[in-house]
C-alpha cells in the first residue's frame, strides 16, 4: 500500500510538466489558478526566471497573447508538452496577492487607488472582447513597484461562487459580469462601516440585473474617483447634510478661514465690546 506521503509525492510528480525538450527548467510549483498549475521555472537561454502555466486547454494562451497592457501579464512563449498538454511561459510576477497587500494598507484612499488600477486592465480586455470571468483577490497581484497585474484570464465556465455574477450560471456573460466581481472585490477593499457613497457604489456594481450595473469597469472607477475628490457619486443620492459636508471637505481652507473670521468677530463683539 502506498503511504499518504508517497501518494502526495506521486500526485505532484504525475502532474509535473516534462519540459526537457524546451529551454525551461522547472524549479518549484508556485500556485494553482484558473484552469492550470503554475510553476516557477528558469529560462536557460535568456537567463531569467519565468512562470510556466500548464493547461488542459489552449484557449487561455491565445487569449492572453492578444492582450498587451501593463496590467495584463505578458506571455513570452507557448508550446505543447510530450503528453499533449499545453503550456505557456509568462513574466514572473514578483509581488504579493491583493488580499495580502490590502492587509498592509490601512489608509482607505490608498486602497481605493489600488482598486482603480485593477479596473484598467479589465476595461482594456473588454475593449478587446475578452471577459475575465473569474476576478477575485487571489487572481490579482501587486508588484514591488505598485503595479497591478490581473492574472488567470479567460477561464471558461468555472468561476468562483463567491465572486460570480448571477448570470454566469447560465453562461451568457459579458463585461458586466466582471463589474459584478469588481464590486465584490470593492466590498472587501472598503471594509465594514464604509461611507454611504462607497456602499452605494458597491451595491450598484453588484446589482443582480446586469442592466442596472455600471456599464463597465471605467465607469465604476470614475465614481470612485469622484468620491476621492469629494465630488458627487453617481450611484448615491446625497442628502442636503451630506452635500454640505462634502462641500466643506472639498474646500477645507475656505472653511477654516470663514470659521476663523467668525470666531474673531464673535470675540470682538462679545468680549472686547463690553
Amino acid at each position: 500500500m502506498i503511504s499518504d506521503k508517497v501518494l502526495a509525492r506521486l500526485k505532484t510528480a504525475a502532474e509535473l510538466p516534462d519540459l526537457s525538450g524546451t529551454r525551461y527548467r522547472i524549479v518549484d510549483q508556485i500556485g494553482r489558478g484558473g484552469m492550470g498549475v503554475v510553476y516557477l521555472a528558469d529560462d536557460v537561454e535568456l537567463g531569467r526566471s519565468v512562470a510556466i502555466k500548464v493547461l488542459d486547454d489552449a484557449q487561455e494562451a491565445r487569449v492572453l497573447a492578444g492582450l498587451e497592457h501593463p496590467g495584463i501579464v505578458p506571455v513570452h512563449d507557448a508550446g505543447v508538452l510530450p503528453d499533449g498538454r499545453r503550456y505557456y511561459a509568462m513574466k514572473l510576477v514578483r509581488g504579493a496577492r491583493l488580499d495580502v497587500v490590502l492587509e498592509k494598507t490601512p489608509h482607505l484612499p490608498d486602497r481605493l487607488r489600488i482598486f482603480q488600477k485593477i479596473c484598467e486592465p479589465v476595461a482594456f480586455a473588454h475593449s478587446r472582447g475578452v471577459v475575465h470571468r473569474d476576478l477575485k483577490p487571489s487572481n490579482i497581484m501587486v508588484g514591488e513597484f505598485g503595479e497591478v497585474l490581473v492574472l488567470d484570464w479567460g477561464a471558461p465556465g468555472v468561476g468562483t461562487p463567491q465572486f460570480m455574477a448571477p448570470e454566469q450560471a447560465s453562461g451568457e456573460v459579458d463585461g458586466r459580469a466582471d463589474v459584478f466581481a469588481l464590486g465584490k472585490i470593492l466590498e472587501i477593499v472598503i471594509g465594514i462601516n464604509a461611507a454611504k457613497p462607497l456602499a452605494s457604489i458597491c451595491r450598484r456594481a453588484m446589482e443582480s440585473d446586469p442592466a442596472r450595473r455600471y456599464a463597465g469597469p471605467l465607469e465604476l472607477s470614475a465614481d470612485i474617483a469622484a468620491w476621492l475628490d469629494h465630488m458627487p457619486v453617481s450611484a448615491h443620492r446625497e442628502s442636503v447634510g451630506e452635500r454640505l459636508v462634502r462641500f466643506g471637505s472639498r474646500n477645507r481652507t475656505l472653511l477654516a478661514l470663514l470659521v476663523a473670521y467668525l470666531i474673531l468677530r464673535l470675540i470682538v463683539i462679545f468680549w472686547l465690546g463690553r
Binding site: M1, S3, V6, K11, A14, L16, P156, G157
Partner: protein
C-alpha cells in the same frame, strides 16, 4: 456550441468514444452489463474496503464481508442503474450508496457486536476519505501496471530508479541515486521524467474508464492530481 466538445477536440489524445464502464454496468444488454459491473467493482473494491475500515473502524474480516455485501447488493438492487451523470460524480454517488448500505446493515442489529462504530476521523469528511482511498488505489494499480509495462519493454532500470525515488518514503538525492545505479544524474532525471509521464497516462486512463463523460472526467482528473 457545447464547450465540452470544443475542449475535447484539443485533447484528442483521449478518445471520446472510450466506452464508459458506468453506462455498460447500467445497460440492459447483459453481455455488456456483466463486464461493466466487474470493471467497476474491480476499480472500486479497494477504496470501498479501505473506506469502511477507516470510517467504521472495522476489522479486516468485517470490512471484507461488508465490501462484498455492498457490491452484491449493488448488483442485485441495481445501484449502478440509478446513477444520473447530471447530478454529480459517480464516485460521490457510490459513496452515498455505500453509506446508506452501511447504516442499514447496522440497523439490522444482528451483527452489532461485530461491526464497528461510526467514527468521524478528525477533520476529514466521508467524501474526502473516500476520495483519498480511491486516489490511492488508482495510483497503486497504475504503478503496478507501470512496472509491468516497463519490464515488458526492457526498461526495468528506469522503473527501478522511479521506485527508489518517487515511491520511497524518504528519497535520496539524484546524485546519490546516480552513483548507486552507475549512471549519470541526467539519466536519473530522464528516467524519472519518462516514468512519471507514463504514470500520468495510466492514471488518467483509469480515471477515464470510470467516468461517464468529458466534464466528469476533467473534474475527476483534476481532483486526483491535486
Amino acid at each position: 456550441m457545447d464547450a465540452d466538445t470544443q475542449i475535447g477536440g484539443a485533447n484528442a489524445r483521449f478518445p471520446d468514444t472510450h466506452p464508459s464502464v458506468i453506462s455498460a454496468a447500467a445497460s440492459d444488454d447483459a453481455a455488456r452489463r456483466r463486464p461493466g459491473q466487474e470493471a467497476l467493482i474491480a476499480a472500486y473494491w479497494k477504496p470501498v474496503y479501505r473506506y469502511i475500515r477507516i470510517r467504521w473502524r472495522c476489522s479486516n474480516e468485517d470490512a471484507k464481508d461488508l465490501t462484498q455485501g455492498f457490491f452484491t447488493a449493488a448488483i442485485e438492487k441495481g445501484f449502478f442503474e440509478a446513477y444520473d451523470a447530471r447530478k454529480g460524480a459517480f464516485r460521490t454517488f457510490l459513496r452515498v450508496c455505500l453509506d446508506r448500505f452501511l447504516s442499514n446493515s447496522r440497523k439490522s442489529a444482528s451483527r452489532q457486536k461485530r461491526s464497528g462504530e461510526l467514527i468521524e476521523v478528525d477533520g476529514d469528511s466521508p467524501e474526502r476519505i473516500f476520495e483519498r482511498e480511491w486516489t490511492r488505489s488508482v495510483f497503486e494499480d497504475a504503478v503496478v501496471e507501470l512496472r509491468a509495462n516497463f519490464q515488458k519493454r526492457g526498461r526495468g532500470l528506469a522503473f527501478a530508479v522511479f521506485e527508489r525515488y518517487d515511491l520511497a518514503e524518504s528519497p535520496e538525492s539524484y546524485d546519490h541515486l546516480a552513483s548507486e545505479f552507475g549512471i549519470s544524474p541526467a539519466a536519473v532525471t530522464n528516467y524519472l521524467a519518462s516514468a512519471r509521464r507514463e504514470l500520468r497516462k495510466l492514471v488518467l486512463e483509469r480515471v477515464r474508464g470510470v467516468t461517464s463523460g468529458d466534464r466528469e472526467f476533467r473534474c475527476e482528473a483534476r481532483a486526483i492530481l491535486k
